[in-house]
């Protein structure tokens, strides 16, 4: 599991959160918590699906 910090790729008035570095191609799941992108890779325990 690795973390990638958020950067603003929008404007000050209309910010857009994006990862500071590209998400790895081998990511099996990603969670953005508002501060960082948490990248789960093969071998990591993926959190239960959310959003429902």
């Amino acid at each position: 599991m690795i973390t990638i910090p958020i950067i603003n790729v929008g404007t000050a008035d209309e910010p857009i959160n994006a990862p500071a570095d590209p998400l790895p191609a081998n990511a099996i799941a990603v969670l953005c918590d508002g501060t960082n992108y948490i990248i789960y890779q093969p071998g990591d325990t993926v959190p239960a699906p959310q959003g429902s």
Partner: protein, 189 residues
């Protein structure tokens, strides 16, 4: 050093026998630098897969628009009269909070809609390349069918490399919206 590696990765070879790329585990053709190549269909007509993922990307803890996927579009992949077809699948809480879903090309909004009580949402978004612009269904929409607005025309030069981003914006930071996967295709005449 005399290390030999036997690989099962399929390589792409040009007509001169030179290795110019490879096919990754998701069946995406890439050059040796890892950049996706134009789908074969782009030059000869037909449908080509530009990108696809089933790795879920969740957003929580913020009400700022947040990128869930960023897909490079190589120069010339979408030719004149060609179509970019995007099919994301989102999962969201079934509640009164109105979350906003967007697709942007070169940073400009191609598609945006705000939904509450959505649960799951999978629009089919198409943008047609006139040669000088990308034209898509106008206004807030579900990506297909009718809309109360005239078509959206984006001045995006598809002969140059561009990027497609898929984003979500929460109404409440306590919620979670997950992009469960997406498919991006190119259809050229």
């Amino acid at each position: 050093m005399n290390t030999r590696v036997r690989s099962t990765v399929p390589f792409l070879v040009n007509e001169s026998g030179v290795i110019v790329g490879y096919v990754d585990k998701n069946n995406i053709e890439r050059n040796m630098a890892g950049v996706p190549l134009a789908p074969e269909a782009a030059s000869g007509g037909g449908i080509g897969l530009l990108a696809q993922s089933g790795a879920p990307v969740s957003v929580t803890g913020t009400t700022t628009e947040t990128v869930q996927a960023s897909i490079p579009i190589p120069a010339g992949v979408v030719g004149p009269n060609g179509v970019l077809r995007i099919t994301p699948l989102w999962s969201a809480p079934v509640n009164a909070d109105s979350n906003t879903y967007r697709c942007r090309v070169a940073g400009t909004v191609l598609f945006a809609t705000t939904l509450a009580n959505d649960g799951s949402f999978s629009p089919i978004i198409t943008a047609r390349n006139t040669g000088s612009a990308l034209v898509a269904l106008g206004g807030t929409s579900l990506g297909v069918g009718g809309s109360g607005s005239v078509p959206t025309s984006l001045a995006v030069d598809m002969t140059a490399p561009q990027s497609l981003t898929i984003t979500a914006q929460l109404a409440s930071a306590a919620d979670t919206v997950t992009l469960l996967g997406y498919t991006v295709e190119v259809l050229n005449p």
